[in-house]
Symmetry: C2
Subunit: 257 residues, 2 copies
């Protein structure tokens, strides 16, 4: 059995405290322990969660609450979004078994890993999925795909535990590890700011979907920390170039006037 730290579980906008407790319970069943909540609907802490956790109190006692998915995944390197209906088809979509294997390999390489789950009704927003490194889809019968939140966590946690009990030799990533999500988000925001100033987002109402497509495209590359710095240098150089061109244009116009 491997003693790797298991994936962090992140619940985005969970609604029912009962479900949060049920999630804590199955996490404990399969040896997971770190739970993060993004904007729980009814606030936190809630007694009902402890009542339904069936003794898995240490999971609930350690819960950390965040205001956004971006903040909740900021320190993690590899996070997969769990969704029954993968709308964002430009991201890799994998089974729980394949996904846990990748998280296992990444964890064994020293990276921090996590699993993001949507709320009971709404599921995950595509902008939040775009912050993660892939999609996990549980093989549900399309005839009846309303899977309970705790069940979705259970299936993934079970696959994780099966894997660490087997403890296969990790397949280490070639090259440098990917940057953590906060560095990536910083890079995306830098890019979007410069693009905004350059009039790239046209028409303006398309900005959200255009930004998201860029994040997904670039996210697939799995930039290392060094590569994030390099790419920010690229953004900066391009933007500065544009500034110089604009300055020249302004000067020219001034001369003409």
């Amino acid at each position: 059995m491997s003693d790797l730290t298991p994936p962090v579980v992140i619940l985005d906008k969970p609604q029912l405290a009962d479900n949060i407790g049920a999630v804590a319970r199955v996490m404990a069943n399969f040896g997971l322990s770190e739970l993060r909540l993004v904007s729980p609907r009814d606030g936190w802490p809630q007694d009902r969660a402890w009542a339904t956790a069936s003794g898995a109190d240490w999971v609930l006692d350690g819960v950390r609450v965040f205001d956004s998915v971006a903040e909740a995944v900021a320190d993690l390197n590899t996070v997969f979004s769990t969704t029954a209906r993968p709308r964002e088809t430009r991201m890799p979509v994998r089974t729980p078994r394949e996904s846990m294997r990748l998280l296992y390999d990444d964890r064994a390489s020293g990276l921090t890993v996590g699993l993001l789950f949507g709320g009971e009704r709404a599921g995950l927003e595509t902008t939040d999925i775009a912050l993660t490194q892939g999609i996990v889809t549980i093989p549900i019968d399309p005839k009846h795909h309303s899977l309970n939140l705790a069940q979705a966590v259970a299936i993934n946690a079970y696959e994780w535990r099966t894997l660490i009990l087997d403890a296969p030799p990790p397949r280490f990533r070639a090259g440098d590890p990917p940057a953590s999500n906060d560095l990536l988000v910083g890079m995306y925001e830098h890019l979007e700011k410069e693009l905004d100033e350059g009039g790239f987002f046209h028409p303006p109402e398309k900005k959200p979907s255009m930004s998201q497509n860029l994040r997904v495209m670039l996210g697939r590359a799995g930039f290392s920390e060094q590569e994030v710095a390099t790419f920010r240098g690229v953004i900066h150089a391009l933007a500065k170039g544009r500034g110089r061109v604009l300055a020249k244009l302004a000067a020219k116009r001034g001369g003409e006037g």
Copy 2:
């Protein structure tokens, strides 16, 4: 994807209608549909089950209720007992993945297959486990092994669905298929009756555990229908022989008297 009929799910003495509904829901999630209940504590049907099944009504509408595990598994060839604490160590103990693979192979060979789950508190009785062909143990963290009933069903159902989506070539059993459970139980009862008359069960209070050990021992052999008939012939021949010896003894005593 394979179109094999999925395993029958049998719940022994389930307590809460909510849990029965949650079981129906996860069965539907993973394409299972036949649910049997053995002596549900609060009777059947119960509205609460439909309320928690989240629309998986067809599973609940088709429920059949039995008075004993023996009756509930009578028509099935291969049934595995799911338990977190395998007390009956003389039976094969396997993971959900290994177990579903065996059920898949048996189902592909035309056998009928099922999964037996214990009630929320008590779990399965060893006499009922002895009626089945093996034990499935979900790899739970020993630090927190109170797994919710619906979660236990979910893990197994998920493994079944993963398997039929992959549809690996079935590994057919060599030789004749095993007899159905009612034929096996008939054979056990025949044997026990004759052993009882022969004074085998001594002291009498040991009869339950002695019978059960015999069932487990013989059960592992996986007798075919023909072999059950052969073995019943063996029991009959041995018992008749004993009858003849007793008759001779009686005659001798009569002659002496």
